[in-house]
Structures are given as structure tokens and as C-alpha cells.
């Protein structure tokens, strides 16, 4: 049997809700599991239970052959004994220690020479050269994040737990560091669980996504599965991106990228689309449907296809158009009647380049 991390636990928050999580994460090969959901959905609580900083009322957490928590058998493995790398949301760098001191903090078991060598490795890996003797308060947000990551992976943990690793950063830094973090997670080959509420981060970093709300895990699956085929309306509302398809960047002209999706060409914006493999993400409300062959608009993308599905939801209708890939659009009932949309109707979907979000993905 392949080693897995098996989570099955419940914790009651009096007056709020009972959080319950059942998840299985295969550990070999190492994957990145994303806990995705709005704030207050219980993501951080679950992560803290995994770190040994909070205790569920019932259930168990089993890491490979080691039991971390078993409420029934009264087993509670301390955080010290779990060999994890935990990075809280605000990094919690030790203000009394330098950058090197923070990174070395958990390495006191190593002989001094090996410890110095490990610090050098991590400083180089996370591009912190020259900052070894700086105190955390002297660092930028991005540098602090890197120090916290270095400290978390310094002991070569068997599981990495990252709580909103990028949320404390400004937008441009976040996009840059998100890409770096993905490379780091792949390089280090450590199973990781990452909490986030940002769908672009979830798509970039995750191999598996668990969508959470009000303490419940609603759906678990690959990023594309969860985003394109949400299990129910609640998941759809939380993820908020109706079309997610895989594509390849074929050209990039000053940030306006041309992407090929199943042979179709799309123009989209990607601030940092360095690799060629991307997720193409389009919100249903950003898609305009027009009668085939009508006039020119400012939208950069005109895709014709035929309607495969029409789902009325109140005053709105969600229409799926097959234009080489399934594209979802949400329009009003009046618009549907005017266009005379039925299953099989031929339409053109217009999407502005700015509404086509490109998120790098690992191949």
C-alpha cells in the first residue's frame, strides 16, 4: 500500500459550526494539496491540526505508518515530533534572530559545519545572499516570505504546511513569488498542503484542490476538474471561474499572449507567463454571446461554436458553447430569447483579452 496522509477529523466551534474533514493525500510521488475556500471556512484550523497546534475533538490523522492524532486512543503527537515545515500566514519570523539565525533555528541537532553548509544552501536557493545578518524587521515582505520558507524547509520536513503563503504581499510580488514557490515545491519534492483563497494561486501551485466552506470539504479533485466541473452550486460559487482549460502560449507580445487551446487561438493577458503551459481561465459573466457572423467589436477573441447545454438559473441562464473547448457564458433570459438559443444553435462568443486570465501550470 502506498503511503498516504489520511485525515478524518471533526472539531466543534460552539456557536459557529462543526468542522469536519476527510481527505487522503498520496505521499509518493509528493503532491501539493490546496485547501481552497473563503475565509472562515476552516482551512487554517485544519492546517493547525496537521501541525499539532490544535486538536480535533474526534477522529484521527495518520501520516504514513505514524499516527499523529487519534482522539479515541488518546494519541497526540506533539508538533516537535512530526517533522513538518509550517509557515503561518504572517511568517512568525523570530525578531531576536538574524536571517541566518532564523533559518538555523531548527537545525541545532546538526554539527556546526553541516549546519553552516545547510544555511549556505538555503540562502543560495532562496536568493537571500547578503542578508544573512539582517534582522527580520529590515526585510521587505517578499524577503521575509523567503526567509520563512527557508526556515520551514531547512530540516527537510516530511510535510510542508503553508498558510496563505503569498497573501501578505503586494500584487506584483505575489505573482512573481507564486511562480518561484511552484518551482521550489517541485524541486524540493516534499508533499505540501497550501491554504489559499486565491484561485490563481490554487491553479498555479496545486496538484489536488480541496474546496472548503463552513468547515466542510465540498469537493476534491484536480484543479481543472474542480474549476470546470464543480460538484454543486456551492462549489461553483466559491471557485467563481466557470471555464478553466489547458493551453499553450505560442506568442507573447508585451504581455498580450496568444494561446492555443485545442487548436483554437485565444488572446489573453498574462503578467508573468514564462512557461508555455498555462491554464486559460474565463469567468462566465465576461463572455458575450452574439449571432454568428455579426459585426466587429473591440473584443480580441471571437469563437464560434454550437450550444451544448442551457441551464436556467433564475433570471440568468448558463449556456455552454463548444468552440473547441467547453466555454461557459452567463446571459439573461431575455438575451437568450432574442438570440433564440437552443441546444445545437450556432453562436459566436466574444471575450475581451483582459477577461482571459492565463495562469502558469506545471506540465
Amino acid at each position: 500500500m502506498a503511503a498516504t496522509l489520511t485525515i478524518d477529523c471533526r472539531k466543534t466551534f460552539p456557536g459557529r459550526f462543526t468542522a469536519a474533514a476527510q481527505l487522503v493525500l498520496p505521499l509518493d510521488p509528493p503532491r501539493v494539496l490546496i485547501l481552497f475556500g473563503p475565509s472562515g471556512s476552516g482551512k487554517t484550523t485544519l492546517l493547525r491540526c496537521l501541525a499539532g497546534l490544535e486538536w480535533p475533538d474526534e477522529g484521527r490523522i495518520q501520516f504514513g505508518s505514524t499516527t499523529w492524532i487519534d482522539a479515541a486512543a488518546n494519541v497526540r503527537l506533539s508538533p516537535q515530533a512530526r517533522r513538518i515545515g509550517y509557515m503561518p500566514q504572517d511568517y512568525a519570523l523570530f525578531p531576536t534572530h538574524t536571517v541566518a539565525g532564523n533559518i538555523a533555528y531548527g537545525l541545532s541537532d546538526l554539527p556546526p559545519a553541516a549546519r553552516q553548509e545547510r544555511i549556505r544552501e538555503l540562502i543560495a536557493l532562496l536568493q537571500l545572499q547578503g542578508l544573512e545578518q539582517a534582522k527580520p524587521t529590515q526585510l521587505s515582505g517578499g524577503q521575509q516570505q523567503r526567509v520563512a520558507l527557508a526556515r520551514a524547509i531547512a530540516r527537510r520536513p516530511q510535510l510542508l504546511l503553508l498558510d496563505e503563503p503569498l497573501s501578505a504581499l503586494d500584487a506584483p510580488t505575489r505573482v512573481k513569488l507564486c511562480g518561484e514557490l511552484r518551482v521550489l515545491l517541485t524541486q524540493q519534492a516534499i508533499p505540501a498542503i497550501v491554504v489559499t483563497h486565491d484561485w490563481a494561486e490554487a491553479l498555479t501551485l496545486g496538484d489536488i484542490i480541496a474546496v472548503m466552506n463552513a468547515g466542510q470539504v465540498l469537493q476534491v479533485g484536480s484543479p481543472q476538474e474542480v474549476f470546470s466541473r464543480p460538484a454543486n452550486a456551492e462549489v461553483a460559487k466559491i471557485v467563481g471561474i466557470e471555464t478553466v482549460v489547458q493551453g499553450h502560449v505560442v506568442a507573447n507580445d508585451n504581455g498580450l499572449a496568444t494561446v492555443s487551446v485545442n487548436g483554437m487561438r485565444l488572446k489573453g493577458l498574462g503578467a508573468d507567463v514564462s512557461g508555455s503551459a498555462v491554464y486559460v481561465c474565463i469567468r462566465a459573466e465576461d463572455v458575450l454571446l452574439e449571432q454568428a457572423g455579426s459585426g466587429i467589436t473591440s473584443a480580441r477573441n471571437h469563437l464560434s461554436g454550437h450550444v451544448t447545454e442551457v441551464v436556467p438559473q433564475g433570471v440568468l441562464v448558463t449556456v455552454t458553447v463548444d468552440c473547441g473547448f467547453p466555454l461557459r457564458a452567463v446571459i439573461t433570459r431575455g438575451a437568450r430569447e432574442e438570440l433564440g438559443l437552443e441546444i445545437g444553435s450556432v453562436v459566436t462568443a466574444a471575450i475581451k483579452a483582459g477577461a482571459v486570465h492565463l495562469v502558469p501550470r506545471s506540465v
Binding site: 516537535q80 512530526r82 509550517y86 512568525a92 525578531p95 533555528y105 531548527g106 541537532d109 531547512a154
Partner: protein, 224 residues
């Protein structure tokens, strides 16, 4: 000035502060981090010397270490002489009397330490004890110094407890405050004034140190 009394007083105050620095830390740690619901009972006991008249505290200590109590009998069996009216007995009384002056600043400083830092240390495999010495103590340094200095200063000036437990034995239990009282009783106001001034100056100096440290007046100095 009675230099013997001054020496006894400083020795007593230094030893009291040193013992409280060792004994007070685990008590303060427990008071800060324990989630036991009856914790307030222990908190109240630790704070009792703040409100109890020194004579009452001294009376109970005297009874507790006297020859009729098991503790007193055990001590005199082991050491060979009884505990009351000795320097050791006085030290024990001073430690109990100054306990809140050490424990409360310690506990207040520990409570100021961001719990997330402590948790981060634990997840890095560092035990609770090592986390205390490597993280909590350095971050609480101002509170630790405050507690030690306050218990030192408080012991310098104690009177009622000394009189009850220590008595007035030259070179053994006669402290500065007892000496001042004796001088005044003997109508030697000049001698009393000198000793009183010394005590005033030392006490004021010590408090200046504590308050300045807690206001971080030295924060304008460069860090290196």
C-alpha cells in the same frame, strides 16, 4: 552608618532576587500558559503578599518554620539549629514576601510574547524548555530584569516580616530598615538620616532603572 546591617541587607536582597529569578520563572510560565480553569486560585495565592500585612505573613511563616511544625522540626533535625531568627529563615520569608514582585512582571512579559512565534518554534522541533530559553526569555528580557530588580528593591525595604521572622541579630538578621528604627528609638536622628538617605537613593536609582528600561529610553541608541 551601620555597615554590617547594610551588608546583611544587600546580601539578603541579592539572594532573594536570585532565588526568585529561578523559582519565579516556572511559576510565571505556568500562570501565563496554563489553560487550567482553576488557575486564578494560584494567581491569588501568589498575589497575597501584596495585600497581606507583613506582620500577618511573618506570623504564619514563623509558625510554619517553628519547632512545633513538621517543616521546622525537619530543618533543625537536618541542619542542627532551628530556622527562625536566622539569616536562612529570613531569606525564606523574603522570598515569599517578594514573590509577586518577581512573578507578576515575568508573567506580564511572557504574555506579551506573540504566541505564533512560540508555535513556530515548536513546529521546528524545538522542545518547550528550549523554546523558553531560546525565544521566550530573550523576548521577555525587560520583564525579567524588572521582576528581579523590583524583588531586590522590595527586599531592601522590608521591615515587618524581618521583625517577625528574623528578629534583630547583629550581622545575622539586622537589616537597614531595622537599624533605622533602632536609631530613632535611641534618638540618634543623625545616624537614622544617613542610613535612610542611602536607602532612598538606592531605591530611587533602582526604580529609575526599571522605568527607563520599560520606556525604552535607550532605544534611540544604535543597536550595535
Amino acid at each position: 552608618m551601620n555597615w554590617i546591617a547594610i551588608a546583611v541587607t544587600f546580601e539578603l536582597a541579592l539572594l532573594t532576587a536570585a532565588v526568585l529569578l529561578i523559582v519565579g520563572l516556572p511559576i510565571a510560565y505556568w500562570l501565563t500558559f496554563s489553560k487550567w480553569r482553576w488557575k486564578f486560585i494560584v494567581e491569588s495565592v501568589v498575589a497575597l503578599p501584596l495585600v497581606l500585612p507583613p506582620t500577618v505573613l511573618g506570623f504564619y511563616i514563623l509558625v510554619a518554620i517553628g519547632p512545633h511544625s513538621p517543616i521546622g522540626r525537619f530543618y533543625s533535625d537536618v541542619v542542627g539549629h532551628p530556622l527562625p531568627f536566622t539569616f536562612e529563615g529570613l531569606l525564606l520569608a523574603s522570598i515569599l514576601y517578594s514573590l509577586p514582585f518577581a512573578v507578576q512582571p515575568f508573567a506580564a512579559a511572557f504574555a506579551q510574547v506573540d504566541h505564533r512565534l512560540i508555535e513556530a518554534s515548536w513546529t521546528l522541533g524545538v522542545s518547550k524548555l528550549k523554546t523558553f530559553f531560546r525565544l521566550i526569555a530573550p523576548l521577555s528580557m525587560a520583564g525579567l530584569i524588572t521582576g528581579a530588580v523590583l524583588s531586590f528593591a522590595h527586599t531592601l525595604g522590608e521591615f515587618g516580616v524581618v521583625l517577625m521572622v528574623g528578629g534583630n541579630i547583629e550581622g545575622e538578621t539586622r537589616t537597614v530598615s531595622i537599624d533605622i528604627y533602632d536609631e530613632v528609638q535611641a534618638l540618634n536622628y543623625a545616624g537614622a538620616a544617613k542610613t535612610a538617605l542611602l536607602l532612598l537613593a538606592v531605591s530611587y536609582g533602582v526604580l529609575l532603572l526599571v522605568y527607563a528600561m520599560n520606556r525604552k529610553v535607550w532605544a534611540v541608541w544604535p543597536q550595535h
